[in-house]
Amino acid sequence: MNDILKVGNQKFKSRLFLGTGKFSSTKAMIAAVKASGTELVTVALRRFNRAQAEDDLYGPLAELSNVQIMPNTSGAMNAKEAIRAALLGRELSKSPIVKLEIHPNPHHLLPDPIETFEAAIELVKQDFIVLPYIPADPVLAKRLEDIGCAAVMPLGAAIGTGKGLAMAEMIKIIIRDANIPVVVDAGLRAPSEAAHALEMGSDAVLVNSAIAAAENPTAMAAAFKTGTEAGRAAHLAGLMPTSEIAVASSPLTHFLAPADEKEPII
């Protein structure tokens, strides 16, 4: 099946994007990336430290074929810092694709919608392919689409909480109104939730903690691959309508009772 996800001018067959944080080792992360079948991974920027050279992911990720790198702007407290982080990330990735995230409060890590919007305007002007991480706010999502973002990434639940699609109803509204891809980012814990997100019509999911913090990250990455694919296939197949009353799937002809007994009233 030729089912391609287009984000700006970028094309993806896999609808599972992967975060590279929180893994026990670079080796474990690379194994999970391979098992997931992802074509897009996020990375963060950190100050160079010669004593921790093994944390530098540039080399290990460059060896992966068919995997694009999307730097994030994590750590940015406001639009100005996020723009700076995006420019720095682009220097390394050599690609205009950026995950715009501004979440100044460490207690809930919820995105700052105002700073995110302001940064998005500037980054679009500077020819970035902007994927903003946002609260599941349909109004904000539409505004970001209007100013030229390539996709929107509403949160399923707060980062790292594993509370799944807590924002499902709001995400459904975003999906219904959007003319750009909607990527559920953050909060997912189980592959069934990724499947659910895709069934709902999300175009992709971005998963990190659920895989990195699993007992077996490689196996969980493979499970998320299957879940994402199943959800997408189900969405394309078209889910049956729901009904408030039971609708029998077997014939209810009353042939087992004696002939003199009346048919039950249903």
Binding site: G19, T20, G21, K22, F23, T26, M29, T42, V43, A44, L45, R46, R47, F48, N49, R50, D55, D56, L57, Y58, G59, L61, I69, P71, N72, S74, R84, L87, L88, G89, E91, L92, I159, A186, L206, N208, S209
Partner: protein
């Protein structure tokens, strides 16, 4: 020359170019992005950009992130 590198004081011994600073600190040039006083400096300009006393240099690398 006195510089601040990644928030720490650093006494630079080289010719003052960004290239020289990266070599001095053992940074892998292809893996490093860089800012001087809050301005991003493209790697194309590292050979020719000469640092000034008290410049604040930030050197960044890719690490795991979601």
């Amino acid at each position: 020359m006195k510089l601040t590198v990644n928030g720490e004081p650093h006494e630079h011994q080289g010719n003052g170019s960004i290239d020289a600073l990266l070599e001095e600190l053992g940074a892998h040039k292809e893996h490093t992005a860089l800012m001087v006083n809050g301005n991003v400096i493209s790697s194309k300009e590292w050979k020719t950009t000469i640092l000034n006393k008290n410049d604040a240099v930030e050197m960044l690398v890719f690490v795991g992130g979601g």
